[in-house]
Subunit: 140 residues, 4 copies
Amino acid sequence: MVLSDFKVIAPITVRWGDMDSYGHVNNGVFFTYFEEARLKYFLALDLYKNAGHPDHRPALASVTINFRKQLHWPADLEVGIRATKIGNSSFSLEHVVFRAGLEEVIADGTSVVVLVDYAIGKAISLPDALRDAIRSLDGV
Amino acid sequence: MVLSDFKVIAPITVRWGDMDSYGHVNNGVFFTYFEEARLKYFLALDLYKNAGHPDHRPALASVTINFRKQLHWPADLEVGIRATKIGNSSFSLEHVVFRAGLEEVIADGTSVVVLVDYAIGKAISLPDALRDAIRSLDGV
Amino acid sequence: MVLSDFKVIAPITVRWGDMDSYGHVNNGVFFTYFEEARLKYFLALDLYKNAGHPDHRPALASVTINFRKQLHWPADLEVGIRATKIGNSSFSLEHVVFRAGLEEVIADGTSVVVLVDYAIGKAISLPDALRDAIRSLDGV
Amino acid sequence: MVLSDFKVIAPITVRWGDMDSYGHVNNGVFFTYFEEARLKYFLALDLYKNAGHPDHRPALASVTINFRKQLHWPADLEVGIRATKIGNSSFSLEHVVFRAGLEEVIADGTSVVVLVDYAIGKAISLPDALRDAIRSLDGV
């Protein structure tokens, strides 16, 4: 797993305030790094348009994170993100946090995104336009 | 899975700032709720004393979260936490976020905690005192 | 300045994650404590209704914070808040963070809230209903 | 007040999670932007060395922030910071948050930093080495 495996990459600059009282970047802040990459991925997909309706918007169903290395301020990161699976009403993403310029993995994990019709509060099938956008971006 | 299944429970009051621009509690903030419960669990175990040495301290190896319901401010929560497994150098925890006073599960998930000797930067076997503390608390 | 000077009080439980790598509650987190009190004050004023129009909503113009004591997890706080001045298009608030059950001031400060017509992006005069609500709450 | 007035500038990339449920960057997050600039200023001063003793460390006494413009993700910022006054045991800083590449001020404010001897918990006089470092950096 190397950075060049990813078409969408979010650069992140660690903030001093990302560290906690253990003196390293708080584990939960990696969630924010994943989130930043996911939002950039949504832009790359043109997700809000390809969802087909203003009420049809993504919701996060689950996330997993593995912590590989401790991280301290100051540091620059690159978060690679790509789709690994397209389901009926959801798709799965892989996130990898690299130290910028190095193939050192600080953390990695997954998230599952569901498309929800917020007018009725239910998951809906992914429209073809969205499936095509994911496929053409990541070949999944 | 009900709140009375848990010996250690962390009460959490949702803050307005926990919400994000989707107008609900940010998914990543649940990580903080899990963390708060985990720290209380460490206190209940007297973990820092039972680890046996000041250099032997816990590190989070991984976390998983499932998002079951949307959550909005204001709200009071109770986060139940318990051990589900004791390994050689790690133990596994289950976290469940309930709406206070109700058996409504907002989110649940797991975390794996490793005991690390920070002087050498390596995981070490859990000492018997710590195993006993986990067993006597949660019967695992 | 004692807690009983305040009609509106927001209870806050410090979270472990509120601490930073200096090992105490991060100065910026007090901003969040002030914010929580301010939002409760808005509810006490029925501000969104008394603003008179859905496009007329509050915006924060400025804030000041004085840090009096260091603070560590775990701790319970009570944040007192009250109006000190009503201007043409703004009102001023005083915030005091007390340790719960003690008259120990951890931090204090001020904020200035402006009423904005978001349709035109301009500050507007406070309607009489809002002035009356502030006056009847805090006698200012 | 333009960016070229500042010798120390902290670049900040707004994160999606910096926004709150009003759909703009949360006011309190500007505190984090100020903090990031302040920590870079401390590095530029070699403050920890020039404080003269490991127990002599900075503490934030107060902060003020004025909010000039609304801010939304995505955006790149540059936070200029400089000393405006050297007192006996404290120094004052001015912070200005610019939109990167533009002379548009999003927020500005001040902070007062005190040097504290943490062994006795008291403010102490700024040593000459630290005064000289501030003077040679900002000519104050």
